[in-house]
Amino acid sequence: MATIDAPNPDIQATGAQTHPLYWKNRGFAHHFRNADEQFDACKLGMWLFLSTEILLFAGIFCAYAIFRMLYPEAWAAGSHHLDWRFGGLNTVILLLSSWTVASGVRAAQLGNNAALIRNLVITLICAGLFVFIKLYFEYIPKLSAGKAPGTFFSYPYAHDPHEPLWWSIYYIGTGIHALHVLIGAGLLIWVLVRAIRYEAYGPTEYTMVENSALYWHLVDLIWIFLFPLLYLIH
């Protein structure tokens, strides 16, 4: 039944504006009383989901803390192998992308599709840069030098017998984070495609933009904790 905002007959219907995904043509699911209720429900659902993500990483942080306490030398030695400049650059990149994705939400709320698309593209470029730096300047050189997790560790100049454990935590923490970067980028690509094709988002229909942006902020937030723990403190 309900469309929140029936297409304005005065506006010449262009191709996109007759599409059911065009933001003005969007309704809401029949078990909600209105579109606001649906929006609130989706947002609450997303926040709950984000709390599960934080708890997932909590396990890794917990393991980090315990082994740091047990083997401070290994941790100090391990973090000396990480270059804070790459970590710092990636932090800046993610912070920037958080800003652009937030601007994207704002653009959707204002009905400015062009700005939404622009901001999403910048965010995605940042995501790509992040993964590139991580892989090309960090993972690959380190792995080829033998600084690998657990029994794969073959770096000959290790200072501490527990360094393999440090690398395990490093790869698991940053690896699962990188996986989240990819998932977040996937969501944003989906939003981007729908924004370009159908102008799917506008002042009354931006749930998906908002929720993907929330997810992206989470990815950023977790990195904000990983970065100092792994790169900065010794």
Binding site: H31, L44, F49, A63, F152, Y171, I172
Partner: protein, 580 residues
């Protein structure tokens, strides 16, 4: 709860069970449905099937324990159920036994009891009791059912390939080093990991539904207590399950890549695994019991026709249990911790008993001066009160440091958790299935057969597990395929008990099948309940209610309201309305 209007928007709408599109079409319709009622029924059948699989394993375990394995002077072997009976094969027999109890535990915990009440009855009744048309995210709901099925298939596949013998707890370092079981351990752990997602999504869905989709007029304290229980359960599911997710993921990495986090050889810590595991698995025991407690609140007040005693106390104690459940996990590792930590965990463990006891007293007070109907749901609710009291109280000697040293890893623990999980959750689940059977399937079941089944289950259960308390205090360790001769009497009784249990379940099974095939048609409100699910047809129509629901009275106002679809001759109001 009276509805305001009598206009019938969906008047011509059929029951949700009406097949519409021929056989293949109907199957397709069910497999792609987003209707919470169908998904609830699909969960119901799936978890009952898992219960059957886990039950077969349990019966086999009990059968092996009927006799201790004895090697006579001439080398003949008696009492060994599995494997050929020669001296070399005792190890084989023990291996099979280890696999059986592991698959029993893993199936019962991850595939049966965790999803049982919330995913089956919760899915069906949460939206109905809230007066909603569906859960907040219906497609996510279907998705979580598929995740459940995929997870269970992983588990079943691991069993078909030969099973695992790690115990349902997958303790390291054993679970990361049993090379012979390599792929099967991975599969089983992966199964538990995948099932966790299903659990998280269901919990998330229910929390949002409870927040956003209550019918107009239903405040938080007008909700049935079943909803409060499911709500508290969902909070635990959402907050605890991710931790087991990362734990099992680390376990998988440990197996595949030897990352060393749980491996002492690389500086890792196997006890860390236990901490992670129980940080999830203790809260999860309340995921199992809280929904059961919710069912008991409904059954007792409806079938005793009494306003529930201490509504808010029960509601808040659910949240209290959920909160405390997160800080007691250490009581599973008293033997692997320092003194101070154990003392703190012991004290916190005793805290859990308080909200639990609050519920108990409120339920008993509800029965006081009620007009108690003796039928299957009520019998089950009364059994619950009896059995769960034992289960909860025997948790206290386990939570006390001095006694746990003796009882840890003994049959006493086995008996304790069976009194809580089976005597609590399974009994409540069975009570709930009977209570809501007419609503779900539109047919009455045979009351006499139901009560006979209940009595058999009650007797069988007590015989099976009461004996194990005594075995445990006498020193019988858990997870052993044989025992010293002195224990045999009690073991034999326990095994006989498991057969009586089986008989009870079979009576229920035939009763249910008979009801589906030939049971009399159920009226919309056979018990005179006041919660919203009794306002619609039995079985409910596709969109749940004929018209918008407006809540005008509380869920337990039996002293002032004539139930919907009933008249005062069937369910008279009390002569002098109780004053409170």
């Amino acid at each position: 709860m009276t509805t305001a209007e009598t206009t019938h928007d969906h008047h011509d709408e059929g029951s949700y069970l009406t097949p519409k599109y021929g056989v293949m079409g109907t199957i397709w319709d069910w497999m792609t449905t987003v209707d919470h009622k169908k998904i609830g029924v699909m969960y119901l059948f799936a978890v009952l099937f898992m219960f059957f699989l886990g039950g077969v394993a349990a019966l086999a375990v009990r059968l092996e324990l009927l006799e201790p394995v004895r090697v006579a002077a001439d080398g003949t072997i008696t009492g060994q159920l599995f494997g050929p009976a020669n001296p070399e094969s005792i190890a084989t027999g023990n291996n099979i036994f280890n696999r059986l109890f592991t698959l029993h535990g893993a199936i019962m915990v991850f595939m049966f009891i965790i999803p049982s009440v919330p995913a089956a009855l919760g899915n069906f009744f949460l939206p109905l009791m809230l007066g909603a048309k569906d859960v907040a995210f219906p497609r996510l709901n279907l998705f979580s059912w598929y995740i459940y099925v995929v997870g269970s298939l992983f588990g079943v596949f691991s069993i078909i390939l030969g099973g695992v013998d790690t115990g349902w707890t997958f303790y390291t370092p054993y679970s990361t080093t049993t090379d012979a079981d390599h792929w099967r351990v991975l599969l089983m752990v992966l199964a538990a990991f995948v099932l966790g997602f299903s659990s998280i999504l269901t919990g998330l869905n229910f929390i949002v539904t409870t927040h956003k989709l209550r019918a107009p007029g239903m405040g938080w304290f007008d909700m049935p207590l079943f909803i409060w229980a499911i709500y508290a359960t969902s909070i635990i599911q959402v907050l605890a399950t991710p931790v087991i997710g990362i734990t099992l993921l680390l376990l998988i990495f440990e197996r595949l890549f030897k990352v060393g986090i749980f491996d002492p050889a690389l500086g890792g810590d196997p006890v860390l695994y236990q901490h992670f595991f129980w940080f999830y698995s203790h809260p999860v025991v309340y995921v199992m019991i809280l929904p059961g407690m919710g069912i008991i609140s409904e059954i007792l007040s409806v079938h005793a026709r009494k306003h529930i005693f201490g509504y808010r106390a029960i509601a808040f104690s659910s949240l209290g249990i959920a909160a405390v459940s997160f800080i007691v996990w250490g009581h599973h590792m008293f033997t692997a911790m320092g003194e101070l930590a154990s003392t703190i965990f012991s004290a916190l463990t005793f805290l859990v008993a308080i909200p639990t006891a609050i519920k108990m007293f409120n339920w008993i007070a509800t029965l006081y001066k009620g007009s108690i109907a003796i039928n299957t749901p009520m019998l089950y609710a009364l059994s619950f009160l009896f059995l769960f009291s034992i289960g909860g109280l025997t948790g206290l000697p386990l939570g006390a440091l001095a006694t746990d040293l003796h009882l840890h890893d003994s049959y006493f623990v086995v008996a304790h958790f069976h009194y809580t999980m089976m005597g609590g959750t399974v009994i409540a689940f069975l009570g709930g299935i009977h209570h809501w059977w007419p609503k779900m399937f539109g047919r009455m079941y045979n009351e006499r057969a139901g009560m006979i089944g209940c009595v058999l289950v009650f007797i069988g259960f007590n015989l099976t597990f009461m004996t194990q308390f005594f075995l445990g205090t006498q020193g019988m360790p858990r997870r052993y395929a044989s025992y010293i001769d002195e224990f045999q009497t009690l073991h034999v009784l326990s095994t006989y008990g498991s057969w009586i249990l089986l008989a009870g379940f079979l009576v229920h099974l035939f009763n249910f099948i008979h009801s589906l095939v030939a049971g009399p048609k159920a009226p919309p409100n056979p018990w005179g309940g006041l919660t919203l699910e009794w306002e619609t047809e039995s079985p409910p129509i596709e969109h749940n209610f004929h018209h918008e629901v407006l809540v005008q009275h509380g869920p337990y106002d039996f002293d002032t309201v004539v139930p919907p679809h009933c008249d005062e001759r069937e369910f008279p109001l009390p002569e002098t309305p109780a004053s409170h």
